[in-house]
Subunit: 192 residues, 2 copies
């Protein structure tokens, strides 16, 4: 254990070995979650992919929900579009970043996996945090044009343009669908 | 086995006893799916709730996906709003029916459960059928105002007003959010 690795473990008080194990196990759990869904995240399969014994996994993360939670937390901050100040371009850009997240890191499976496990309080909290983070920039942008119920509606609507086809049909919208959605929202006279 | 019950089994060629078992097992599986998520739909728990032996369940439905698929198929047709011819009122009505489906029969869990299992071809097909049925009336209504990419966008957007808060936060929108969403979509000059 080197001082550098030791300091990585930080606040958690874990030693470097556990910290490394955590990274490996989280990566394996995330790989299973996004490729096959949360049902595939079992101690046996995560252990096999991560290269640890099942006993090691059960010692640190006794429940399957622990493995799934760790996988989602390993995602870190949700990706966002770099703002330019042009509202239309920024909304389109943000939806394209969300779409890339669905294609590249299967955010649709993360969303449905969190929803599936949300009856467990631990996951309900993670879901709230991840999804609030995910919609934060959309709220800030649309807040320039909308407030109150119309703001909530606009955020759900634009989120739905990417999330609904992904979760309902396993597809993502083309550029022209994303642009049409943003135009519907921005051309609303009530919102101007 | 009476002739009446025998005829119920119909095309499937199953006898009435299996048909009754199927109804009981599907109901128990759906109860678990909507109350706790698809991970709870195991042979052991379904057998316990339905009042059959695990052996009986394994004989007819060897995989967990069989139980989950049967639960979803037991839902039947998706509920829809009775059309009045007033487009605004009909869109609001359809979204309120969808919202009731989330509250009463936990359609959000059905949606996320289907998404979670969609890497299995059997479930991908069920998901396409159920969700196409679910959006059919919304396509017909919005088709009066939109076409092409804008129609796809509008359907995803209004679906998202109910589906996004349900799947992302476990909440449903108030009436004023549903009404604001419909107004944003209908006031779009490009769609008129």
């Amino acid at each position: 254990m080197t001082p550098v690795e030791g300091s990585k473990a930080g606040d958690s008080g874990e030693d470097a070995r556990v910290s490394r194990t955590r990274v490996d196990v989280a990566r394996a759990a995330l790989e299973l979650l996004t490729s096959e869904g949360s049902d595939a995240v079992t101690h046996a399969r995560v252990a096999e992919i991560a290269g640890y014994s099942k006993t090691t996994l059960y010692t640190h993360w006794p429940a399957r929900i622990d493995l799934i939670a760790m996988a989602i937390e390993s995602l870190g901050e949700m990706p966002h579009h770099q703002l330019t100040g042009d509202l239309r371009a920024d909304l389109i850009g943000e939806l394209k970043v969300f779409r890339s997240g669905v294609v590249d890191i299967r955010l649709d499976r993360v969303l449905s996996g969190m929803a599936e496990w949300a009856s467990v309080e631990q996951m309900a909290q993670i879901r709230n945090r991840v999804n609030t983070d995910g919609q934060h920039q959309m709220y800030a942008m649309l807040g320039q044009r909308f407030s109150g119920a119309a703001l909530d509606a606009a955020v759900s609507m634009l989120t739905g343009v990417v999330a609904c086809p992904a979760i309902m049909f396993g597809t993502v919208p083309d550029d022209d669908v994303i642009e049409a959605a943003v135009d519907v929202v921005l051309h609303d006279p009530a919102g101007g």
